[in-house]
């Protein structure tokens, strides 16, 4: 069943292309789920693609108070997420680029994206955006340990430091053997996914009320292609984190790339639907409660790590 060796690089490129092409679709799936919960028809599944296309053909407006930092923010952010995309395996299929320790690089590429979003927001000089930046940094400082500790538990369990080999060593047997530990990591990563993508219960992607916005407020001043970059950046971030989660939850490692990849893609669609359900059925947490949720996720990840050390 395994393809000939010379096809491997081509397949790796194909997987990278898949992420680039399909990631806005996940946003569409979430929106459609929310719409059907609310009894609406909702926007078309491909709405994110239309939005990206429209924004890319617009001009950008820059305030005179902004500097090059403001213009560099979306570009560097997108570049960092693109680099992170190449590190993430699709289920059992290895990532395009992999080396020992790439999970640390992965976590900090996401951190770099966030850093540039934040300083671009601060660069506008708007106190409103500064408030959003401050909240974003507070929450991400708490979400990052959950991500790193969860990945550390997985790394300890599989005895390797590269995302691709961690994920290829997962199987149904692993779930039978250390199921509780894996379940804890899944729970921690789910919270990280919701926090990193500015989803309910951490942040509401639709809100435009001053006091509740976190992520949305930081990108208020971006327009045209810059906003398109930020939208695409968000879609890719959702893609990479749900790929990590789906690869954990669906441990199908048959060796057939089409079956393994297909199962993982299906899992990602299901995760998008679950996010839609969470957004429809939960209220946003009070700002004071969000750190508790994130520290709770970190605590779960630490328990997973302790269990894996046993």
């Amino acid at each position: 069943m395994n393809p000939a060796p010379f096809i491997q690089p081509l397949l790796a490129l194909l997987r990278a292309g898949l992420a680039l092409a399909l990631s806005p679709l996940l946003l569409g799936v979430i929106n459609r789920t929310k719409a059907s919960f609310a009894g609406r028809n909702g926007q078309p599944l491909l709405q994110s693609y239309y939005d990206l296309w429209k924004l890319l053909h617009k001009g950008a407006v820059y305030s005179r108070t902004t500097t090059w930092v403001f213009r560099a923010g979306p570009i560097i952010g997108l570049a960092a997420v693109l680099a992170a995309t190449t590190l993430v395996p699709l289920g059992g299929l290895p990532s395009t680029v992999s080396f020992s320790g790439d999970l640390v690089l992965f976590a900090y590429l996401l951190g770099l994206t966030r850093f540039f979003t934040v300083i671009a927001a601060l660069d506008t000089g708007s106190s409103f955006e500064g408030m959003g930046a401050s909240r974003e940094v507070t929450f991400s400082a708490l979400a990052e340990p959950a991500l790193l500790l969860g990945l550390a538990a997985l790394a300890r369990q599989s005895g390797s430091l590269s995302l691709s080999s961690i994920y290829s060593s997962l199987s149904f047997d692993a779930w039978l053997e250390v199921g509780p530990m894996l379940a804890l990591v899944v729970a921690a990563l789910m919270v990280v996914l919701l926090a990193e993508n500015a989803r309910i219960p951490v942040d509401d992607p639709n809100t435009h009320l001053e006091l509740t916005m976190i992520h949305e407020v930081m990108v208020l001043d971006h327009s045209g292609p810059d906003l398109a970059f930020i939208l695409y950046n968000a879609a890719l971030k959702l893609w990479v984190l749900s790929a990590l989660l789906a690869g954990l939850i669906i441990p199908i490692r048959s060796g057939n790339p089409w079956l393994d990849g297909g199962a993982c893609l299906l899992g990602m669609l299901v995760i998008a639907i679950i996010i839609g359900i969470i957004e429809s059925s939960m209220a946003r947490l009070r700002l004071l409660r969000v750190p508790q949720l994130l520290v709770g996720a970190s605590a779960l990840a630490v328990v997973a790590l302790i269990l894996s050390l046993r």
Binding site: P180, V295, G296, V302, V303, I306, R310
Partner: protein, 213 residues
């Protein structure tokens, strides 16, 4: 067969939930779940030589801790008409972190203790120690008298887990006697909480330290 590991693991999660809980009602319910889990633990560890004594200890534990205690505590809460917040001295985030540290410490300690030959004894002792530590922590860091009853129950749960999981032929009378003691304790504490709240309009133990004639 369901692995006892899963039950132990759920016990750890209920303890963490207690540390992070913000509402008294949620805490009471979590302690109830913990009681039921302990009964299940007793049944599972002895499932290949199930005797009447084991059944009696497990089922009476389940009924007492899962149904009777929560009912008593909810009644005390209702009659004392207290606010539903936990009001800790140490906030939920620091409590959770302390809990994680306690878990690490009890796993470390359990590995160094000389234990009888028994499957996954190390994990069981660790979870029992962890429950005792969490119970102590709850007693020390919570203001309301009812949280201290809960902390006391969690400590007792830890001791129960220790006894039920390790001692294969635990004397029936001892276990039942302990259960009866705890029952009386919770019953009396429920009444005391009501009396305190009627006398002082609150059940804040912090204020009680300033009592004078």
């Amino acid at each position: 067969m369901i692995n006892t590991d899963i039950i132990l693991f759920l016990l750890v999660l209920t303890n963490l939930r207690l540390l992070g809980a913000g509402r008294l009602g949620a805490s009471v319910r979590t302690v109830a779940v913990q009681g039921v889990l302990l009964g299940a633990l007793a049944l599972l560890t002895h499932h290949d030589h199930l005797t009447v004594a084991v059944l009696l200890v497990a089922l009476s534990g389940m009924v007492l801790k899962g149904v009777v205690f929560p009912w008593l505590l909810f009644r005390a809460l209702r009659e004392a008409e207290v606010e539903r917040e936990v009001e800790p001295f140490v906030g939920p985030i620091m409590s959770l972190l302390a809990g994680v540290a306690a878990l690490g410490a009890s796993l470390w300690l359990a590995r160094r203790l000389p234990l009888p030959e028994s499957p996954n004894a190390s994990l069981l002792v660790a979870v029992a120690l962890f429950s005792i530590l969490v119970g102590l922590f709850l007693i020390v860091t919570r203001k309301k008298a009812i949280s201290q009853v809960l902390g006391f129950l969690v400590m007792e749960n830890g001791i129960y887990a220790f006894g039920v999981g390790l001692v294969l032929e635990s004397p029936l009378l001892v276990e039942l006697g302990v259960l009866l003691d705890v029952f009386v304790a919770v019953f009396v504490m429920g009444i005391i909480i009501f009396q305190i709240s009627r006398e002082f309009d609150h059940i804040d133990t912090h204020e009680l330290s300033k009592l004078r004639d």
